[in-house]
């Protein structure tokens, strides 16, 4: 039965991916632009879901890792201007180092304390960016001299390819032995330890993986948008959106996070005519999903099938 569900989900994902590939031939550049952002967001959410859904650690500061990656890439590009690829790799590496510095001591903490530390990390990063305005551009943000491409289609391909690669890696990881051990240590750390698994090591690995993907995605987003600013890659509000997307799509599904993120970004865009009230409506929708369908979009679909 689980095999069947898995393969069905896989086929559905493949089908969606194929549909996404054909999009540039029949939709406008405007929609492609929205989807490009949504795809990067999907990677943020998937990386978050690996940490929360599987390792059972609530990371309130996904934007700490994203921001590190984004600003590293932006500063590197603005100062010395190496090839974009170098900047993106550097962004991923710095996010990894930052994630390690944050996680090694923080993983000793349990429950709300871990969440709080990650939250504070974001606030500190935000303050640091404002204080070192000379290098980072402060509250206004900084413009990078290079972008990946000026063509909406080209950017869409980059984002889609990146999303698919990340989804395959993260989904594969979550279904591998490592994913199962993570899930076990998230639900019953003592039990997992008694079975001889090194819980801390696995959680640390999950955090590092999450950090690298967040950092690289953050850096790529910068080279898509051409700017790095606090309000787009560091602000707590962005982190909240990432968390909402993951919970909305369904925890512990990885691929659900993609659905959640695309839904959230697209809904936010379509509700834009409502003006100021659109964030209100999106938050209300997300709250309703949490209250009435706590398993999320994909989680609910899977459950219905299991019952059949």
């Amino acid at each position: 039965m689980p095999n069947l569900v898995r393969s069905r989900m896989l086929w559905a994902a493949v089908l969606l991916a194929v549909a996404a590939v054909t999009l540039p031939w029949w939709v406008s550049g405007y929609i492609l632009g929205i989807l490009t952002v949504a795809y990067y967001f999907s990677v943020f959410s998937m990386a978050w879901d690996l940490l929360f859904g599987f390792a059972g650690e609530v990371n309130f500061g996904p934007t700490f890792l994203i921001g590190l990656g984004a600003y590293t890439a932006a500063i590197l590009d603005a100062r010395w201007g190496p090839p974009i690829l170098v900047c993106i790799v550097a962004g991923g590496l710095v996010a990894l180092v930052g994630g390690l510095l944050l996680a090694v001591p923080a993983l000793r903490l349990r429950g709300p304390y871990f969440g709080l530390i990650t939250l504070v990390a974001v606030l500190l990063l935000q303050n640091a960016i404002v204080i070192f305005a000379g290098i980072t551009g402060g509250e206004i943000g900084m413009t990078v001299p290079d972008v990946m491409s000026v063509s909406a289609e080209q950017n869409y391909w980059y984002a889609l390819a990146f999303l698919v690669v990340c989804a395959i890696i993260l989904f594969g990881l979550s279904r591998s032995a490592i994913g199962l051990i993570l899930q076990a240590s998230g639900q019953d750390a003592i039990g997992a330890q008694a079975l001889g698994f090194n819980v801390t090591k696995h959680k640390l690995a999950a955090f590092c993986i999450s950090a690298v993907f967040s950092g690289v995605a953050g850096a790529m987003l910068v080279f898509y948008q051409g700017t790095a600013s606090v309000s787009t890659v560091v602000d707590l509000g962005v982190g909240v959106q990432i968390i909402i997307a993951a919970v909305l799509g369904g925890r512990r599904t990885i691929l659900g996070a993609v659905l959640g993120a695309v839904f959230l970004i697209v809904a936010g865009e379509f509700l834009r005519p409502l003006g100021q009230i659109n964030t209100f409506v999106v938050a209300a929708l997300a709250l309703a999903v949490i209250l009435f369908f706590p398993d999320g979009l994909l989680g609910n679909l899977l459950r219905v099938r299991e019952r059949e």
Binding site: F52, P112, I131, L236, I290
Partner: protein, 291 residues
């Protein structure tokens, strides 16, 4: 002279922080809920108070009173429509209730913030002082309002202390924070105790909200900041410990005031954040927390 000014300003700000954080810690202590809509509840009280006192022309005191009432209503809605449904939901596994309450209250807080911004815009507003006039303390001229706000904060905290320690209903509250099961065995209805806790919470957050509007002013943009500072004060003091929260409020309040006066106003939140990180790493239970 500057030191005296820091002493007075810091005391007023710290008292307000203490009042804001004490409701937050009460709810956590009694029912284990971290209410991330805390800033939103304060915001409702502050903005409603400001609107009713000023534009509706009801006068400062009546507006203040109704503002507190609005905060209470917001707290009830938070509990009855967000927190309780999640706690009672059978679709959410028990070990995940906590993260759902966090996410749910966070979303509700965003809804309050955006709703308020839609109605009142996000311009910062300041209520007219509750106590106009100027007081001179040891040669430092201080607005009377500032002094009186600190006094009001302490009166409210004192009343709370009296209620919790000296009345039957208050003692039930205290017992619920120690051993909820024992309390039900004694024949108390736990849901009524929780409702009482949220009532107290609403009043505390409401008073803190209107005082904030009268002292520093509020804007719907600061909602997250309000929640974050209450959260960090409570963690510094030790989750669930009321005296710890009071202590932490003064530490944070004075640290911020000293930084703002002597170093730079822009660096205001930094030392408190660094202290918070250190405390969480070195002593996760906070100043006075139980483990």
């Amino acid at each position: 002279m500057v030191w005296l000014q820091i002493l007075i300003d810091g005391f007023a700000i710290s008292s307000l922080y203490a009042l804001g954080a004490i409701g937050f810690t009460l709810i956590f202590g009694v029912s284990g809920v971290l209410n991330l809509a805390h800033g939103g509840v304060m915001l409702v009280a502050a903005l409603m108070g400001w609107m009713l006192a000023g534009e509706a022309g009801l006068g400062t005191w009546l507006g203040t009173l109704l503002g507190v009432l609005a905060g209470l209503v917001a707290a009830y809605i938070t509990y009855l429509m967000v927190v309780r449904p999640i706690q009672r939901s059978s679709a959410i596994p028990r070990e995940e209730k906590e993260i759902f309450v966090l996410t749910g209250t966070l979303l509700w807080g965003i809804m309050i913030q955006q709703g308020m911004a839609y109605i009142f815009t996000d311009n910062p507003v300041t209520m007219r002082p509750l106590f106009p006039g100027v007081a001179t303390i040891a040669g430092v001229r201080t607005p009377l309002n500032e002094v009186m706000i600190a006094v009001v904060c302490w009166v409210v905290i004192g009343l709370l202390w009296f209620f919790v320690n000296r009345t039957r209903a208050g003692k039930a509250l205290l017992a619920a924070s120690m051993n909820p099961r024992g309390l039900t065995l004694l024949g108390f209805e736990l849901s009524r105790v929780y409702l009482l806790a949220w009532t107290l919470y609403g009043v505390l957050a409401g008073v803190a909200g209107v005082l904030l509007a009268s002292f520093l002013g509020v804007s719907s943009n600061n909602t997250g900041q309000l929640t974050a500072s209450a959260f960090s004060i409570v963690v510094l003091g030790g989750l669930g410990s009321v005296s710890g929260s009071l202590m932490a409020a003064y530490v944070v309040g004075y640290l911020e005031t000293i930084t703002a006066y002597l170093i730079a106003p822009t660096l205001r939140p930094m030392p408190a954040l660094v202290l918070l990180v250190l405390v969480v790493y070195l002593r996760p239970q906070g100043f006075l927390g139980r483990r």
